[in-house]
């Protein structure tokens, strides 16, 4: 083991851990943007519970809102990564279904600046 290895690992962790902590500490969002192929196709209000279905030629994703959290509860994609992801609620967090190019991203109404540096 060389000294450079330690420097590399410690520097990378020192850079990444604060970023991860900031992300974990971010506020809960209050709406969800539903996107397909990079374009917003729907905006869901997280204060109302409900089930929404989005279909396209590649398949469908069923989205469920419950207690200000959102998840994909059913989909016909091969890996089911979007369903396994479970509920999300933090600002900017997202559920992604790559086979359908489908994503749900949490957003905030006050145009989400978590921190303003002056």
């Amino acid at each position: 083991m060389k000294k450079n290895d330690l420097i590399l690992i410690i520097a990378a962790l020192l850079l990444l851990i604060p970023i991860a902590l900031i992300i974990i500490g971010s506020k809960d969002g209050d709406k969800a943007l539903v996107k397909r192929d990079g374009k917003i196709i729907d905006v869901i209000d997280l204060s109302k519970d409900g089930i929404y279905t989005y279909e396209s030629e590649s398949g469908y994703n069923k989205v469920e809102v419950k207690n200000k959290e959102i998840r994909v509860n059913e989909a016909d994609c091969p890996g089911h990564d979007c369903v396994n992801k479970g509920f999300i609620k933090r600002n900017n967090e997202s559920i992604i279904c790559l086979p359908h190019k489908f994503e749900v991203t949490i957003s905030s109404n006050d145009e989400g600046y978590d921190v303003v540096i002056q």
Partner: protein, 168 residues
């Protein structure tokens, strides 16, 4: 010599396949199909350090093809490939540069494996929201990368007899 080498490369592929399979049992922390924590990189690193870059490329390609056929899909094939090509290139370059030991090379490989997969996923999705997960996966893969590198560091001297040209 030739036969011995083929046999050992086959063994490396088998080890990589077992590790790939073990990885599929671990729940996915990131919603990218084919995203793995990178245990299989151990066998590729071992091939890179016991032989040379050609052998490492062979083992890596065979591993990706076979594990896509056995446990994955055509879809996950491209994700594994995008990460592996970038990771292996970085590993080969940094092994040549000789600034880092196996541990550093392994960590760099793991980091670039991650970055390669994220780049492809972002291109397909046409959205940057995936980047949210990048810090978490990077922390995770630095740790597994360091672990892999440490294993190869201890093993590569003990396994030198594999590539001993005088013996055969």
């Amino acid at each position: 010599m030739k036969i011995k080498k083929i046999a050992f490369l086959g063994l490396f592929v088998a080890v990589a396949m077992i590790l790939s399979f073990l990885e599929t049992l671990i729940p996915n922390i990131v919603p990218i199909p084919g995203f793995k924590i990178g245990l299989a990189n151990f066998a590729i690193l071992l091939a890179l350090y016991l032989y040379d870059y050609k052998e490492a490329i062979i083992v890596d390609l065979v591993r990706i093809l076979l594990s896509a056929i056995l446990f994955g899909s055509m879809f996950s094939l491209f994700y594994s490939l995008s990460g592996a090509v970038l990771a292996l290139t970085v590993e080969i370059v940094f092994k040549r540069v000789d600034k880092f030991s196996v541990i550093g090379v392994s960590v760099l490989g793991a980091v670039f494996h991650n970055i390669g997969q994220f780049i492809l996923a972002i291109c397909i999705l046409k959205s940057f929201s995936l980047l949210y997960y990048l810090p978490f996966t990077l922390i995770f893969c630095i740790l597994t990368g360091a672990f892999n590198g440490y294993l190869v560091l201890i093993l590569k001297d003990r396994l030198k007899f594999i590539n001993n040209k005088n013996q055969s």
